[in-house]
């Protein structure tokens, strides 16, 4: 297993109150596999992704129990420095909103170069950095990588911004890419392009992919297995095709009914 999350529980703090976000959630993903994580808003999908990268800020919440093993390393026991070496290098992540996930005052090129430099063993020359950044941008199938490289985030479109985010996430050829609702904030026409791009990159680079979404139509096309989350618990999991064709849990059935007619849900 590339990543295995076992019986993870996460609590969030709201003032004095403690709100459970995940309860005994488990997830496994093998090298090169594509796994979907579905559920409604607030079901704990994003929390699971953040927990895998140990990115839950201590002032917001904490992981109360469970074990996370990535490439044989116990994530929850790693020193912060080793954890940083994994983030962005072995595990890349893309967030929902490309409008807010890029720093507004830095050029896109600078941000991609930063992602590369942070994980480089030596100080890279400006020319080398630029070459790698431009390569990452073309890998994300951005037309005119040179222009995007020199642009600030507000100067490019939403789809291009999300591609720039993808370029940052894959710049260090991670083994696992987590895409947290990568298309939710985008136009419908751009959504498919982004999903196709993710599928293509996964194939080309041999990455594993965790696709987080509330849209069953999306996972049906792009994932091998899915996990269904509800109120912080995994209520159902299995091969995408069988879960979607014969859902065992009432919540999954409910989610399936919630898919609009026009979306082609594969029910083989």
């Amino acid at each position: 297993m590339l990543l295995s999350i076992k019986n993870i529980s996460v609590d969030y703090f709201r003032g004095k109150k403690i709100i459970p976000a995940l309860r005994n959630a488990s997830l496994e993903i093998a090298e090169g596999e594509s796994v979907g994580l579905v559920g409604e808003s607030g079901s704990g999908k994003s929390t699971l992704a953040l927990a895998a990268l140990r990115l839950i800020s201590p002032h917001e919440g904490n992981i109360t129990q469970g074990k996370i093993i990535f490439q044989g390393k116990d994530i929850l026991a790693l020193p912060e420095q080793d954890m940083r070496a994994i983030r962005g290098k072995d595990i890349g992540i893309i967030f929902q909103d490309p409008f807010s996930s890029l720093n507004p005052v830095l050029r896109i090129g600078d941000q991609i170069e930063e992602a590369i430099q942070v994980h480089a063993e030596n100080k890279l020359s400006q020319a080398d950095l630029k070459k790698s950044a431009l390569a990452a941008l073309s890998n994300a199938r951005l037309p005119e990588p040179e222009r995007i490289y020199n642009s600030y985030p507000h100067q490019v479109s939403g789809g291009q911004r999300q591609r720039a985010m993808i370029a940052m996430a894959i710049a260090n050829s991670p083994r696992l890419l987590i895409a947290d609702e990568p298309t939710t904030a985008l136009d419908v026409t751009v959504q498919k392009e982004i999903l196709d791009l993710l599928a293509q990159l996964r194939k080309d680079m041999g990455m594993a992919l965790i696709l987080i979404t509330h849209h069953l139509g999306i996972v049906s096309q792009t994932t091998d297995r899915i996990y269904v989350l509800k109120n912080g618990e995994v209520v159902e999991s299995g091969a995408t095709r069988s879960v979607l064709s014969s859902p065992a849990h009432s919540y999954t059935q409910e989610l399936l009914r919630a898919v609009p007619q026009t979306a082609k849900v594969h029910r083989a």
């Binding site: 002032h59 992540i93 720093n103």
Partner: protein, 275 residues
Amino acid sequence: MISIYLHRIFRNKLAFAGALLMVILIILALTAPWLAPSHFADQSLIDRLQPPSGKHWMGTDDLGRDVFSRLLWGTRVSLVVAFVAVGIATLFGTLVGLIAGYFGRWTDAVLMRAVDILLCFPTFFLILMVIAFLEPNIVNVMIVIGVTSWTGLARLVRGETLSLRERDFILAARALGASTPRILFVHLLPNVVAPVVVSATLGVGGAILTESALSFLGLGVQPPDPSWGNMLSAGKDYIYFAWWLSVFPGLAILTTVMAFNLLGEGLRDALDPRS
């Protein structure tokens, strides 16, 4: 992006006037030794207390020194003191604000309570007290003004940081493996530059006033070094029959403080994303 801001500043006539005055003042300060008709300490007892004339544009003081020359040299002192003091305050305030805002919890609590305590002291009397213990000279004045005027900026930067740290791009930067110092100085700092620049520009005006007041009280820049404040102070004894000794340094302070305030407010409008 920068060109948009420049355009906005130039469109605002008052801010442009402020910027122009600031540039002129800096040039005057830099070229004072060549521009001034005489050295600031050159005395000519025959020419004591002469009113403004072709030879002495702003008259002479009680020791026969050329007021215009002293005023030009004084520009240096006033600007250097103000810039260095504001530099110290900006460095301190930004750093404390960033750290308090980003780390939150007890770090924030400790730093902000320290700020609250500092704010309880009337700043000017705090400065007077410190100067009373130290030797009154330019360096001490700069340091004291600097370390007593960073609190407002610290609060401002802390507030900005509190909201910025919840933004996705900070999470994204952490997810890419960026270290804490990197997040603070590469990702957060550029996002708070606008309010910091505005606050620093307005702060220069305040620092010039504080320096003048201290020098006026004899606790700032010491004679014979000319500062607008100690020139005012020396002129006050002759105010009934030698008006030029008070009016010109007073006007210099007025114009300079106004220039920085206008520029600061212009910058605030220009850098405001809502406008």
